[in-house]
């Protein structure tokens, strides 16, 4: 996994906005849909998890339809969509869980 870190897609941000690096993960059908298990991303300072999702939904338009049937986690804790991201965060997009 560490090997993939450097291969990630970088958001195209105006260079004057300070940016922060995060790790972004996709699971289950969201992983299949994006073809992406994990990547490093750069986000503008102050970005919320909802904004992170919107960036990916622009890149993978089919993602948008799953917005209401998924949850997001930040650093292995379920998080509200309006949570602001910090440098080094691990962000994951999670479909409804079906373990057991």
């Amino acid at each position: 996994m560490a090997g993939r870190w450097g291969t990630g897609y970088n958001f195209c941000m105006p260079s004057v906005v300070p940016s922060l690096r995060v790790k972004v993960l996709f699971f289950g059908r969201l992983r299949e849909l994006t073809g992406l298990a994990e990547e490093a991303g750069e986000l503008p300072e102050g970005a919320t998890l909802a904004q992170v999702f919107e960036r990916y939904a622009e890149r993978y338009p089919k993602l948008a339809g799953f917005r209401n049937s998924m949850v997001v986690s930040r650093n292995q804790e379920f998080a509200a969509w309006d949570t602001r991201v910090s440098a080094g965060d691990e962000i994951a997009f999670l479909p409804p869980v079906s373990g057991g």
């Binding site: 699971f27 292995q76 999670l94 869980v97 057991g100």
Partner: protein, 155 residues
């Protein structure tokens, strides 16, 4: 039954789950009751004949959530030990996907804790199941874990 120090156990494994060993792990002289839950692969799903399943997990978070469930179980019920093991990867019909064992001095707490553990696991632990049939595969319907309503009220 054993002289080793006993403790709760949480595991994600990729080989067959040894239920007997897990039951021995939670068994101690001060207890009187063990309740176990064994969830295994059914041969059908919504009327279609299942070929096999594949489970994947967000492993670091799943283990964290399993530990949280154990902490809640100890807080809510007078139990001794709990083990929670979930298998990942490809599972054939009849193979155990999840095994939970709870030991307690009295049976009521063991039943309540075991049931709480599996119910909570199914709602909150980031694990996903894909069902394979003769003519295709689908991600199982799942449950949306409860999330904090807004970051404004969170830390």
């Amino acid at each position: 039954m054993t002289t080793s120090i006993q403790q709760d156990k949480f595991e994600l494994v990729r080989e067959a789950i040894d239920a007997g060993a897990l039951v021995r792990h939670v068994r101690a002289g001060q207890d009187g009751a063990i309740v176990t839950f064994d969830g295994f692969v059914r041969n059908e799903s919504h009327g279609r004949e299942t070929s096999y399943l594949e489970y994947e997990a967000y492993e670091s978070m799943a283990l964290g959530k399993m530990k949280e469930i154990a902490a809640q179980v100890h807080e809510k019920f007078a139990i001794h030990l709990v083990v929670i093991v979930h298998r990942l990867g490809r599972l054939e019909i009849g193979e155990t996907s999840v095994f939970i064992a709870v030991s307690a001095p009295h049976r009521g707490a063991a039943f309540d804790a075991c049931r709480y553990a599996i119910d909570t696991l199914k709602r909150t632990v980031p694990i996903w199941k894909k069902e394979y049939f003769a003519d295709g595969a689908v991600w199982a319907d799942g449950e949306l874990p409860p999330t904090p309503p807004s970051a404004k009220s969170a830390s």
